[in-house]
C-alpha cells in the first residue's frame, strides 16, 4: 500500500519527539537518584538553591563540619543583638530579654519605620552615649515587609534553610552571604552601646563559623 508523503514525515517527526522525551526522562531519573542518595548519607540537608558562589566542588563539601559550624552561627543569630531586629512580628525587640521595643515602632514597608516613628529619628549614625540609650548605625532598620527574614522562633534547621534561600534571605547569593558577615549592621552587634551584652562569641569566631558553614556546603542541621 502506498503511503501518503505527508504521513511519512509525521511518523518520522513522532519518532524523533519520542526519542528526545525518553532521553530527558532517563537523565532526570538518574540525576534525582544520585541527589537523593547523597542527601541520605549527609550530616544535614543541603540547600536547594545553591548558586554559582565561591563554594567548593560538591566532592569537597563536608556536611558534618558544615552542620557543626552552623551550631555556632545559630547561637549568634539567636542572641538578642541579632534576633532583636529579626522579629516574628512587625515590632522590633529590645534588650537582653528581647521584649517588644518600647513605643512599639512598626516595621513599615521598607523596614525603616512609619510616619513619625522611623528608626533613624532616634537611632543615630553612632551609638548615643549613656546606659540603654539608642544604639546607632547609619543603616539602622528591620528587614522589609516583603521579606521579613525572621530569626525569632526558628529552629536551626529552619533558619539554615532560610538563610540560603534567595527568596527568603534578601536575594543574596552565596558570595553575598559570605560578605554579609562584615556588613556594618552585622558588625553593630559587637558594638551594641552601653548596658547590652555582646553576642556569645567574638566577631572573628562568628565569621569563621559562618564561612565554614557556607564553604562546606551550607548544610542545614536535621529537623
Amino acid at each position: 500500500m502506498k503511503q501518503h508523503p505527508d504521513n511519512g514525515t509525521r511518523t518520522s517527526l513522532f519518532m524523533k519527539i519520542m526519542t528526545l522525551l525518553s532521553a530527558v526522562i532517563f537523565i532526570t531519573t538518574a540525576v534525582t537518584t544520585v541527589y537523593s542518595s547523597e542527601n541520605a548519607i549527609s550530616g544535614g540537608t543541603e540547600p536547594q538553591l545553591l548558586d554559582s558562589g565561591p563554594g567548593p566542588e560538591k566532592a569537597d563539601r563536608d556536611s558534618v563540619a558544615s552542620v557543626e559550624a552552623f551550631g555556632k552561627v545559630y547561637k549568634v543569630l539567636m542572641s538578642p543583638r541579632c534576633m532583636n531586629c529579626h522579629p516574628a512580628g512587625d515590632v522590633p525587640l529590645q534588650g537582653d530579654d528581647s521584649h517588644l521595643h518600647t513605643m512599639l515602632p512598626k516595621r513599615g514597608v521598607d523596614g525603616k519605620g512609619v510616619y513619625a516613628m522611623k528608626c533613624s529619628n532616634c537611632h543615630q549614625a553612632t551609638n548615643t552615649p549613656g546606659l540603654h540609650t539608642p544604639p546607632g548605625n547609619p543603616k539602622w532598620h528591620l528587614p522589609p515587609a516583603d521579606m521579613k527574614m525572621v530569626f525569632e522562633g526558628r529552629t536551626p534547621h529552619q533558619l539554615a534553610k532560610q538563610l540560603v534561600d534567595p527568596k527568603q534571605n534578601g536575594r543574596k547569593s552565596m558570595k553575598k552571604l559570605l560578605e554579609h558577615a562584615d556588613d556594618t549592621l552585622v558588625l553593630a552587634g559587637w558594638n551594641p552601646g552601653e548596658g547590652r551584652t555582646l553576642p556569645p562569641m567574638s566577631h572573628a569566631e562568628f565569621k569563621e563559623a559562618w564561612t565554614t558553614w557556607i564553604k562546606n556546603g551550607a548544610y542545614a542541621p536535621k529537623p
Binding site: T102, M103, Y115, M117
Partner: protein
Amino acid sequence: MIKLTINQKKHQVDVDPDTPLLWVLRDTLGLVGTKYGCGVAQCGACVVHLNGEAVRSCVTKVSRAAGQKVVTIEGLAARADHPLQKAWLELDVAQCGYCQSGQIMSAAVLLKENKNPTDADIDAAMAGNICRCGTYLRIRDAIRLAAEMQRNPSKG
C-alpha cells in the same frame, strides 16, 4: 562654625559638633518651643523636623543637621495656623502643655504622609510621644480634625 537652616532662616553657630541639636535650638538660638523631656529619645518632647522627618533633637548631634533643613514648632506655620495648631486650640487639647510641641511636630509628619489617617495610623505614628497628663484621646481627636481641615480647608 556650623551652618544651619532653621525655620527657613540661616544661622551659623559656634558649638561643638557633638552638641545635641536641642541644646543649640534652645540655648544658642533661643527657640524654646521645643522641650527637653528625657534626654534619651524616650518621650518625644523634643521632636523637630529634620528634612521633613520627626527626629528627636535631644539625641541628634548638631553636626547631623549641618547644611540640612530644620523646622521647629515656631516655624511649622508662618502664623501658627497649621491645621494641627487650629485643631489643638479648638479641642483644647493641652493640659500642662509641656509635651504638646513634640506631639504636634510628630502629628505633622503623619498628616504630611497620610491625608486621611485611621485611628490605627494615628496610634502607630504617635506611640513615641508621651503625655503625662494623659491627653491622648484629645490628641487623637485633634489629629482627626486637623486631617479633615487639611482635606477641606473651608472647615478650618
